[in-house]
Symmetry: D3
């Protein structure tokens, strides 16, 4: 049974060697991916972030820029990802103090032969890592969690909702 | 009260502007950081990964290389991080099929004026993102979770254990 | 009044958060941008540069290569810039000894949904910075000045001449 | 006379070939460089930038992050620059509406064998280019000007003030 | 006679200055390039590599990933190369113990205005350099050799076979 | 016997997983590495290169800059390489028309815990690839060959001469 599973790992050829999947024959379609994730922070860190957003020390502003820049470099980070010119990218960061976390949502769009799931997930990850970096003097116990693909449209495999 | 919290956000100056913290006067000490995290995968994806490790299609091998390479580029991704020459880096990836996840542990060492927490966390994140990329044709519902700093030694702020 | 101005800042959404502008619906058209700028140098530095160009120590040759390579990495440097495959790039560097400066002109062409103004401006900037680097042992008072977009054609907003 | 000038171009060897200067025998000293520059903008663009800073659409916040990130990548952009771990970096951006420009100041510190002039100048350049990018929908006639080294301390060649 | 030869150097303009060739008017066609090369290793290094492939210490797996990642960054390394989104990339690494070398083959495909020869050659080069890195504790006399373009199809200049 | 060979592959741990070798306990010493290699070109390509060097179209100047820039990015290309601040780098490119090749020599120096062999080899490789790129319109049968470490001094393993 393992045999047929391995077939499904599209990033490996018949010999089991890693490859960048061939998309020569795929159609260029409009695609959109949305990923979400969050970072659990202490009340002190939350307060500092919220104070900064309103007044000074804009943690979320820096994290948003970091996330967008990382989205553009996804193919440098993820070995078998195709380089994809993108149509748009946005990252929303929302404090949810009653639950103790900050939530990141990244939406990426392109017209291409492959989708932009990895770009959206990378944007979320790097935005959250950047929040960690800026708050770690206050709280080292922050946890980055629940990063996943929320939605994806376009492409042959059809739409996906988590 | 928010006032004093903002003080603690060391990556901003008194005007609230983002800065790369000044470490001119800090001592070079030996430092070590260990971060962990995991990706929750379907039984099908787990089976494919485990088959590959044993036989062919080495998902974890590719993810490990991706993680190590990302560790070295942490300062390019995280805006206010210092560039740090590193002494060593290792990433362990372990399938835990009974719990339905693959766990990543990244240990980074350096001699420097600042620690390598962000490097370790970045290594874990990119290794897990790479697993996502290679398994996403099988399972789009994978969730990256519980990324946190497990341990840190060296530096003025003392040792830390999660 | 500030309210309506902020609307014009296309790189921010209605909440004031930075975004990479959505170009999904824009047409691919042929585009060309030309930027210029210059570096004011001392007579000694000018002489060294001119001697090198003719004979050995080709400052402008190195600066030209640096500029072209930077053009290709514009989207890595400028946070909200789209990554754009380019059709061509050239950088002309001309000594104007009677005025005491070296002038840089960068022309970039592409077929795309957004223009290449930032690429041309980045090429000029990095070429001039490279001249600074190579001449700074002779002259630390060099000034980089008058970097601007000279001309732009293609795209919905029409042609532009400075 | 040209002959002896060329000698001073330290980035070329006796054959006129570009080299990365040998700093093997130089001492590690504490160094600091400060560069400044500015971008001349229309009243409309100035108003948009100032509105954003106060309320939403933080142009200067994005430009500051872009500048700091570029400082860390100076050695990738400037061909003959040494890669230098840095101690600190800060970029100040100040609107000067009565003069019609926004001024950028970048201060970089390190302990090393070579100085950080190029890092400071690169930080100023990329911060100003980023402002250009975000305001160009309002004003295409912006001019980046007067980028120069304001001050430098540390190293064998002694202190420098413009 | 030199005069007319120089004309053929398409990466320089009439003044002899380096340029990125203008491909505005070229057709987008399907292209494929295949490059090969090899690294000559000692029997001890060969044995270690072969043991690793079968069992543990997968030198070729790491080299393959490094090569694929380098292919995507060719335009950052080769100054006058166009950035090209790629359709696929694969790198085959084969031990030929009876001849004392490991052979690398890299095949790259794209739809574009220029070919992917440089991408394929870069992939081979970096894969072989990576093998050198991992085996150099055993053998410092390894030689990388015979890197060349094996085949190229698509584009105006017609097909090529070495 | 394979068992003990695998031990020698220092870039893998006892489980066979790739690691960045731990240099925590190594001494910082002065190190130097020299690598050489060459590209075999047709008489037509040789003539074009030689004409350019003397007069215009400076192929070797561009290749030299590309090589130096690649040296600085070695740790980004070679997965398990440590990032190393360098003291100096020079690349000599010499036409040897009577033998039909252009020879590249790259010398890199640093003070560090690990050597700079990979940096020197990478510099040679990318300089030769750049020559290939600029001459490929004239000659597609060029062969990059004989890339090896010529000499290495410093470090615990002692001096090495090919």
């Amino acid at each position: 049974m393992a045999e047929e599973q391995v077939q499904k790992l599209t990033h490996f050829d018949e010999a089991g060697d890693a490859i960048m999947v061939d998309v020569s024959d795929k159609q260029v379609t409009e695609r959109r991916a949305e990923a979400v994730g969050r970072i659990r922070v202490s009340p002190e860190a939350m307060e500092a972030v919220m104070a900064g957003t309103v007044k000074k020390g804009d943690v979320l502003g820096v994290a948003r820029v970091a996330g967008i820049m990382a989205v553009k470099r996804t193919a440098e980070l993820i070995p078998l990802c195709h380089l994809l010119p993108l149509d748009s990218c946005r990252i929303d960061l929302k404090e949810v103090p009653e639950k103790g976390y900050i939530e990141a949502t990244c939406v990426v769009r392109n017209h291409g032969k492959t989708g932009v799931e990895m770009e959206a997930l990378t944007g979320v990850s790097v935005a959250l890592l950047t929040i960690y970096d800026m708050c770690k003097a206050i709280d080292k116990r922050m946890v980055i969690e629940e990063i996943h693909l929320a939605e994806k449209t376009g492409g042959k495999s059809g739409d996906f909702h988590f």
